[in-house]
Symmetry: C2
Subunit: 339 residues, 2 copies
């Protein structure tokens, strides 16, 4: 055994009476090795509990098996609250997919703020909800890494390696539902994070309102001010001279806090006001009445992003990107019917 106490390939070679080359060949299924020899080597390796040293493999092969995960909206607010269950579900799915393929997923909080530790080098990266012109996305690309993002960076149209739900279509789907349930003045409350999701939501709403001959009623609320801001904007909307009869809020937190405010102000939901959310969360499921929401399938998004990245790493560049993940609309009490 090596002085380090670790069993090396040479120990196996010695014990089996062959060269290290042959052991390597057997273990990696490469060269031509006689069946008997192969057996003997495998047996010896198992007996000695040989485990290839991944660092040495990396040094030789140039790959580390480590993929970075940057969750941009959380970077911006310091990993506190917000629609966190979305991100946990996404990160969990991505980590699981990575591990299933022999890769590890490394959490990297804001690469641009702290100096990147020398200790890590990466095979690729996943950036969740990049901002417009996102510096972390840029940094990873500058390093020459293959990067997949969850949601595109609108300032970087050439970067086609992303996965997302079709935010515009899904937004219209919810708006259409509200219309079908009788709403004729639909207000939208979007976030202020400068990313594709908010852009697409607003854009889809404006054209939808135009098509339906409705003047747009649009408010924007910072993602980080979920609970308090929802109350403010809710009060604001409902005290308008010509108040909306439905509110579509992009986050579940905003939708729930607006609903709560409306009820406190004496509005009946769904009798006098419909509420829907662009992202399902604990708040939409938990609210009274339950709030209709889009389940953006973060698990599927995370898994697909990882698979897309791994395919690129494996050189299968023929696969189509971007990849669109379908959302599921959970209809709940909050959009039952007006009147």
């Amino acid at each position: 055994m090596a002085p380090s106490g670790r069993v090396t390939i040479r120990d196996v070679a010695r014990a089996a009476g062959v060269s290290a080359t042959t052991v390597s060949h057997v273990l990696n299924g490469k060269g031509a090795v006689a069946a008997a020899t192969r057996e003997r080597i495998l047996r010896t390796a198992a007996e000695l509990r040989y485990q290839a040293n991944p660092i040495a493999q990396s040094l030789r092969g140039g790959r580390t098996g480590v993929i970075a995960l940057a969750i941009r909206p959380l970077d911006a607010i310091g990993y506190t609250l917000q629609g966190v269950d979305y991100f946990v579900r996404l990160a969990g799915a991505a980590a699981t997919a990575a591990l299933d393929h022999g890769f590890g997923l490394m959490l990297v909080p804001d690469l641009t703020r702290r100096s990147v530790p020398a200790a890590m080098n990466l095979d690729g990266g996943i950036v969740v909800d990049p901002f417009v012109g996102d510096p972390v996305l840029a940094e990873l690309l500058d390093r020459g890494l293959p990067v997949v993002s969850t949601g595109r960076d609108p300032a970087r149209p050439e970067h086609i390696w992303w996965t997302d739900t079709d935010s515009r279509a899904e937004t219209r789907r919810v708006l259409d539902l509200l219309f079908e349930r009788g709403a004729r003045r639909v207000a939208v409350v979007a976030g202020t994070d400068d990313n594709a999701w908010n852009h697409d939501t607003v854009e889809a709403y404006l054209s939808w309102a135009h098509e339906h001959g409705q003047e747009p009623i649009l408010e924007r609320v910072p993602e980080k001010r979920g609970e308090t801001a929802g109350a403010e904007v809710g009060g604001l909307l409902l005290s308008r001279p010509n108040p909306p009869d439905a509110v579509f809020a992009s986050t579940g937190r905003h939708a729930a806090s607006i609903a709560r405010t409306a009820i406190a102000l004496g509005w009946d939901i769904p009798g006098r006001l419909l509420i829907a959310a662009g992202s399902d969360s604990e708040q939409t499921r938990f609210a009274t009445p339950g709030i209709t929401a889009l389940d953006l399938s973060p698990e599927a998004t995370g898994r697909l992003a990882m698979e897309l990245l791994l395919e690129r790493l494996a050189g299968e560049s023929g696969s189509a990107a971007p990849r669109i993940v379908p959302a599921t609309l959970h209809e709940r009490q909050s959009t039952a019917r007006l009147g």
Copy 2:
């Protein structure tokens, strides 16, 4: 430049007219090098944009700079909901602390279920809320890795490397508050995960009840069944012949859903029933009325666990462990006063 396109230490050595040894010494501040030479080497390295290859450093030094993070309660339920904001805050703080010291934090979903990918080897691990006799904790320890857990493993008293809040004392603190606000029949709803947190909560409650001459009213609800189970157990508690006048639920989700059920059944909170939670979350802040809860300071717990681990890696074994993190009690409307 090396054929790989990468600038190596030898390229710098050649350009500066010295040996690779001297470059290494300068870069690591080790040997004795003349000031002029040092300057020249540093300048050359900067000009060539030299970046040490971390894999080669690892191979030589035996360290990878990667720390594993296992979040056990999430492993158990597949990274879906539950008290997720606690875990996100903890993981974010741990990852930030790691990065500040040049380490990366790798997410490892259930090491025991999937074969450990060859691609990764680790310098250490952090296990969040291990179960009693936790197999993942065992696996990491078996590999000879230094491991710090967040919450101890009661089946492994010799493993003293953990960080946690003093669950028993904090539980008593909340119970005392309820008592002070007039409650004389306090019920407790704990989770079913087999870990130190639940054990300590129950144990503290039983002895507290005994001291206060109160018969214990204890219910246990699976963590994963947050929203529906809270309603059930709430109904159960309140329909008892001799119902409680206060409920302490260990998770925010359970507390909030019990509160909602109570209100739906016509109980006034806090007039006729007090509610408190053992863990602050979106639900406790968001509920109407606001629910008094312990903020378990996941950021401090995560950061401290990481620092403890890094100190061990650095060989500073003199530091005291376990380390206790104080919790903060957020008093809200739900415990204002009975009557």
